[in-house]
């Protein structure tokens, strides 16, 4: 082994440390809460539950089919849901976006009052007080929003607030699904 090779080899630990540094640096700033949903590409799970507004009305996953739509998981105890609610109302009213709600781990009267006070952007909200549908959807915490196609297959999922910043990429997908359907 020549002296030059030996000297170059001395640089090896520095190079390894450098490569490791670059690798770890890429992890900085990545949101650890952003987990890929296992449900993407899968149909909505089966469920059979009361709606929030009328306990006598039983809905199933079949009631969400026919058109692409958003399925929004929300609760009155969730501050971020409050923050995004106005935005949901605006896209439902102005852009006619179809939104179904999943009222997650909540109390019926409080949730009904919330919709009366803040407006109801949902075609209907599934009442899920024990989080049973939540588990089958792979819900980690509210709010979460799923984009489903006309057949009820989950196309995309947003964890966290739906707003002016997070809606546009979903909107593009929603509109193209809408075009395919019509």
């Amino acid at each position: 082994m020549s002296a030059t090779t030996k000297r170059l080899l001395l640089l090896l630990p520095t190079l390894i440390a450098f490569a490791l540094g670059i690798f770890l640096y890429q992890g900085i700033g990545q949101d650890p809460n952003k987990l890929e949903s296992s449900l993407i590409g899968q149909p909505l799970p089966e469920f059979n539950a009361e709606t929030l507004v009328s306990p006598s009305r039983i809905v199933t996953q079949a009631d969400m089919l026919g058109q692409p739509a958003l399925v929004n998981v929300w609760a009155t105890w969730c501050p971020t849901c409050r923050a995004e609610h106005e935005f949901l109302v605006s896209i439902a009213e102005q852009d006619n976006v179809r939104i179904y709600g999943v009222n997650y781990h909540d109390q019926r009267t409080a949730a009904q009052q919330w919709l009366k006070d803040l407006g109801d952007p949902y075609i209907f909200s599934v009442f899920d007080p024990k989080g049973a549908l939540g588990i089958n959807l792979g819900v980690v915490g509210a709010p979460e929003t799923y984009l489903i196609d006309a057949d009820g297959v989950v196309v995309d999922k947003l964890t966290g607030e739906l707003n002016e910043r997070t809606w546009p990429p979903l909107r593009t997908k929603y509109l193209s699904l809408l075009q395919e359907t019509n």
Binding site: L35, S38, G131, G134, I135, N136, V140, G141
Partner: protein
């Protein structure tokens, strides 16, 4: 006396690390005692998807409570540990496993430590060998000179 004190400290510490306290397990009812042990095992190796650095047994978040309840229901329904794990992975992804399986996306995770140890061993061998050869590289005349220098240094100074 000291032994008793040490033992009680140890028991206190042990209770800190045990995932579910006795009272917690009792609030989950099982048909057979063996099932309660499986419940403890499963909630220890399944990760809370919300809090991420805790397992299901440790976490107090809503989702962890729900999933503990789900594990209980599935155990009582007669499902095997494998079936329950599959159920969780299907909904929450492999992320939910504290012991990730070896596959394409976890290859680096599994092999990096082995690689680091190999690099370390190689470095030990490489740099260790180098020191020895340097020591042996003195020619007889150089060695003689060195011995003389050392001997000079040992003679007491006259100042």
């Amino acid at each position: 006396m000291l032994k008793v004190a040490l033992a009680s400290i140890f028991i206190c510490l042990a209770s800190l690390v045990s995932p579910l306290t006795q009272a917690d397990i009792k609030s989950y009812e099982f048909a057979e005692p063996e099932m309660a042990q499986r419940f403890v095992d499963l909630t220890t190796v399944l990760r809370c998807p919300k809090c991420q650095n805790q397992n299901l047994a440790d976490s107090d978040s809503i989702i962890a409570k729900d999933l503990r309840g789900q594990v209980q229901t599935l155990i009582n329904a007669g499902q095997t540990n494998q079936q329950i794990t599959d159920f969780m992975v299907q909904r929450y992804g492999e992320f939910i496993l504290y012991d990730p399986p070896l596959n394409k996306s976890t290859l680096v995770l599994w092999l990096a430590p082995i690689g680091m140890v190999l690099i370390g061993l190689w470095a030990l061998w490489f740099f260790g060998r180098k020191t020895h050869t340097q020591g042996a590289m003195l020619t007889p005349s150089e060695q003689h000179k060195l011995d003389q220098l050392l001997a000079d240094n040992q003679t007491p100074s006259r100042d």
